[in-house]
């Protein structure tokens, strides 16, 4: 992730004016939280578009099945995504560029195999018929590979083509769904949707192959990475699981759907997805400013150490870095705060635009607040990982997962008036805890740097 910063700064400070600047922001937002936003956008679009094409009942089942595929694949790929990203960053730091592609090949082969098996098992357990099993498993495998590819896209750093790959895939999905029409039923719609995602995957793989050094040999070093960073596995899993756990609780405790594997809660789901969209600006700002401003300070701090500077210079640079961090955080709170307040104020209009009932306004407002805390929590966790405070990142991720599950369950029991408060409270508490840990660690950063990392930057 760190490598993108340089390119982005060029974009921001380039002579392209406002348009290119905002373009950079959009790219940054999409890459940093690509899978998340993609999922949300797709699901929302399906919400609007699906009904007309394949009938109301199939449409609901269709959305639930796609959501399932997304949730389950994000969860499982989330197990390996963080250690792999870290491994890639290690490879690049060691200038082993020729291992980047083989690592992807190995990881993709494995992911494909494991997810195919998992997909069929899920379908068998759910009693899906042959056609549906095939279509759903195909979708499940393809999106798993897309999530996996995202880690390698940080190496490629071609934001335009990456964005185009995602958009092209989405367009293709919708065209295919319309082309398939209602005649082919649920399996047809899913297969059509899968075709679009396959296009995205193909374009992304092409970008990875073109954008990385020629392969030297096959690489199995990634297994070492998995063993080396066991905490990152848990962090990645807890992070993905926390995003879905409240939805799953809603599906099963208060949701709809006749099939045990095809459950949904249209109101809560849609409110949450919309709320997620409201924090995309925060993610984009985070990526652009943290990667450009903060990362410079971060590197300066470690350079002071490796270049043999006196302690006072190291402490001075640490303070500079910390101050910069607070400035960035304040900026983030200001801008995202304004957007979140706007979303809360204009909640009725926004919900009307996606034809949601008026009763959802309060749930949406609470969820917007929750997403605001959630994005703060996410950025804080990323910072913890930047300083390689894996133990702290792990603690707060698991805390968020547990709180989100527990408090959401309580909120569902309380009833409609409390919908969304579980998630929001969980995000707030986790944010406070993670932030406190970050602050405490930053205050003694020199000690951590030397005692744990022998004075080397954890992220290159």
């Amino acid at each position: 992730m760190a490598g993108i910063g340089f390119e982005l700064r060029r974009l921001v400070h380039g002579r392209f004016g406002l348009l290119d600047k905002s373009y950079a922001y959009v790219c940054a937002g999409l890459i940093s939280s690509g899978p998340w936003i993609l999922t949300v956008l797709t699901l929302l679009l399906l919400n609007v578009a699906g009904n007309g094409v394949i009938g109301v009942e199939d449409s609901q089942n269709f959305r639930a099945l796609v959501t399932n595929a997304f949730a389950l694949s994000l969860l499982t790929v989330g197990l390996v995504q963080m250690p792999l990203t870290r491994h890639l960053s290690d490879l690049l730091y060691a200038a082993k560029h020729d291992e980047v592609l083989p690592t992807f090949a190995t990881a993709a082969t494995l992911t494909g195999a494991v997810q195919s098996a998992t997909g069929f098992l899920v379908c068998a357990a759910g009693g899906f018929d042959g056609k549906l099993s095939l279509a759903w498993t195909a979708l499940y495998v393809v999106v798993s590979l897309v999530w996996l590819a995202v880690a390698w896209l940080t190496v490629v750093r071609q934001y335009g083509p990456i964005l185009r790959a995602f958009v092209a895939g989405m367009l293709m999905s919708f065209i295919a769904i319309y082309a398939a029409g209602p005649g082919n039923g649920l399996p047809g719609a899913i297969a059509a949707y899968c075709a679009g995602q396959s296009l995205t995957l193909a374009l992304l793989v092409r970008l990875i192959v073109r954008g990385t050094a020629p392969a030297r040999a096959r690489s199995f070093a990634l297994f070492r990475a998995l063993r080396m960073y066991p905490r990152l596995i848990v962090v990645g899993f807890a992070y993905s699981a926390a995003i879905w756990v409240d939805k799953v609780i809603f599906w099963y405790a208060a949701g709809l759907g006749t099939h045990p594997f095809i459950r949904f809660h249209p109101l809560y789901d849609t409110c949450c997805f919309l709320a997620y969209l409201s924090v995309v600006p925060a993610l984009a700002i985070n990526l652009v400013h943290f990667e450009t401003g903060f990362y410079q300070h971060y590197r300066g701090y470690y350079a002071a150490i490796t270049q043999g500077m006196p302690l006072r210079e190291i402490v001075w640079r640490r303070n500079e870095m910390t101050e910069n961090l607070w400035e960035e955080a304040a900026r983030l709170v200001r801008i995202q705060g304004a957007i979140t307040i706007a979303a809360i104020l204009f909640a009725p209009q926004i919900l009307a635009a996606v034809s949601m009932p008026e009763g959802a306004v309060q749930v949406f407002r609470v969820a917007c607040l929750g997403a605001f805390f959630h994005v703060g929590f996410l950025i804080t966790t990323l910072l913890l990982l930047y300083f390689d405070l894996q133990k702290e990142a792990l603690r707060s991720s698991v805390l968020f997962l547990l709180l989100n599950a527990g408090l959401t369950y309580v909120s569902v029991q309380i009833g409609f008036a409390a919908y969304g408060t579980g998630y929001t409270l969980a995000a707030l508490i986790s944010l406070v805890v993670a932030f406190a840990q970050l602050t405490r660690q930053l205050a003694a950063l020199e000690y951590e740097t030397f005692a744990t990392h022998a004075g080397k930057p954890p992220v290159k």
Binding site: L311, T452, G455
Partner: protein, 509 residues
């Protein structure tokens, strides 16, 4: 035999017996072999596990056990969370101790020994201590006090590397014995001092070369310090501050050992002067010179007395052909001698491999000075076969401790012309009044002085009676004061006193 399970004497050794051949190792081997009635154990400090794979000596049966501990264990244990109370007490004691070392105070060792007790005799892994917050705070304080402005990273690594061995060697329970005998200061001296404090038992030190001085020379050349570990930054020991840090460290380790030692023994009074300067109490120090097995040279001495000189005057040089022996001065002196002595024969006996370039240089000098007919470089020879052919032995070394070759020449009755270094004056002129009464065993010359060396050799050439009397004096001196058996008896008496103190008259003999 003591008949007890606990060995009588624990020898605390560093990089020597029984793994590495050499002067100190041979001395230890002699000692344990020739005092068979006592049981010994050896606590040996090696650089790291697996560094030495086999013994260089056949260890006698009375060495009942050999324990090995290591300067670097590479246990990457790190503090996770809070230290437990035992660890805390150890870390605190260690910080106090190291703080004291910086201030020239070694009394913190006592608290270290107590903390070691609370840890069950084995220190926590070095990472636990060195990467703990208390140690970090002390490190930062030291840095701010002494090294502000230096590279902090270099300071961190130097400071850590300086202290790591002090903990790593304590990862082994100190073996029990009735008394401890360390054959150097440094890490071995530190361990022996801790053993004394921990078990309340006597501890003595024998120092052959002055450890602190040797380290100072090594630090100046700095090849021995682990230059870089995987991913770690180079230690900049050549920067004045870090050089000072390491020097002070070893000086303080020596002082800690001097302070705890009940008796200190060394080879000659020059060493004693250095020890006193490094903080040893002079009243604790006794001179116990090394001895040689005089009987081994009996036949050679006999041949020397009865030999036919065949019209030749033979001057010998015995030693490695290397700069510290200053062979060039010797060759130049021989040119001056050859001007007066047409029948001169010069034999250079000693290995030429150590510094080939220098050895070639010396040979070239000899032929340039027209000495190719009379000077022969013969390489390493068995001295019992060769010493009888010499009329005079010459030593031109720039530095020596107690050169064995002077004792060997004495055992044969060959007079010596030597530069006035190390304990050569004691060897040639005598140390005590009784010793001096034997008369001189040769002549002393200033270092790097071919003229003085040549004059002394010519004096001996011109006066056969002087040669004979000097050879005889030296022979008597070696037999009386530098025999191996005298040395062994001294240590036997020391050990007896230590292991069977009058106060606890157990009466096991």
């Amino acid at each position: 035999m003591s008949g007890h399970d606990i060995p009588d004497v624990c020898l605390v050794l560093e990089g020597t017996y029984p793994f590495v051949p050499g002067g100190v190792s041979s001395w230890v081997h002699q000692l344990v072999s020739q005092i068979p009635e006592l049981q010994f154990c050896v606590l040996h400090i090696s650089p790291h596990r697996g560094f030495y794979d086999k013994h260089a000596y056949t260890v006698p049966d009375n060495v009942v056990r050999i324990d090995e501990t290591f300067l670097q264990r590479d246990e990457r244990a790190r503090v996770t969370g809070a230290l437990d109370s035992r660890q805390t007490s150890f870390v605190r004691a260690f910080c106090e101790f190291t703080l004291g070392l910086c201030a020239g105070d070694v009394s913190g060792l006592r608290a270290m020994a107590a903390a070691l007790d609370t840890c069950g005799g084995i220190a926590p892994p070095s990472g636990t201590t060195l990467l703990s917050r208390p140690f970090w705070h002390e490190l930062v304080e030291r840095y701010t006090d002494e090294a502000e402005g230096e590279s902090f990273q270099s300071f961190f690594w130097n400071w850590t590397f300086v202290h790591e061995p002090l903990i790593d060697i304590l990862r082994l329970r100190l073996p029990r014995a009735r008394a401890y005998h360390t054959v150097s200061t440094g890490y071995a001296g530190y361990l022996a001092a801790l053993a004394k404090l921990r078990y309340g038992l006597p501890m003595v030190l024998t120092e052959h070369g002055i450890y602190n001085k040797e380290r100072r020379i090594e630090i100046a050349t700095a090849a021995w310090i682990p230059a870089s570990r995987q991913g770690r930054t180079l230690l900049d020991v050549n920067a004045p501050y870090f050089n000072k840090m390491w020097n002070r460290h070893f000086a303080m380790l020596s002082r800690a050992c001097y302070e705890q030692a009940d008796r200190i023994f060394t080879l000659f009074s020059g060493n004693k002067t250095e020890q006193v300067r490094d903080g040893a109490a002079p009243e604790k120090i006794d001179i116990v010179p090394n001895g040689i097995d005089v009987a081994r040279f009996a036949k050679t001495a006999e041949r020397h007395q009865q030999r036919d000189r065949a019209g030749q005057f033979t001057v010998g040089f015995v030693g490695r052909v290397c700069p510290i022996k200053d062979v060039r001065t010797f060759v130049a002196a021989m040119r001056l001698v050859a001007d007066v002595v047409p029948e001169l024969r010069v034999r250079v006996l000693g290995p030429m491999q150590e510094d080939r370039e220098y050895a070639e240089d010396c040979q070239r000098l000899a032929s340039e000075l027209g000495l190719h007919d009379c000077v022969t470089f013969e390489g390493k020879k068995n001295l019992t076969d060769e010493l009888d052919t010499l009329d005079v032995l010459v030593l031109t070394s720039i530095s020596e401790a107690q050169p064995l070759v002077v004792l060997e020449a004495g055992a044969v009755g060959v007079p010596v012309v030597s530069s006035d270094v190390g304990c050569c004056r004691e060897l040639l002129e005598g140390r005590t009044a009784e010793d001096r009464a034997l008369g001189p065993g040769g002549r002393l010359t200033p270092i790097a002085s071919p003229g003085a060396t040549a004059r002394a050799v010519l004096e001996l050439y011109a006066n056969a009676e002087l040669r004979r009397s000097m050879g005889e004096s030296l022979k008597q001196r070696v037999e009386r004061f530098y025999s191996q058996s005298a040395m062994i008896e001294t240590y036997r008496a020391i050990y007896t006193k230590l292991t069977r103190p009058a106060t606890s008259a157990v009466g096991v003999v």
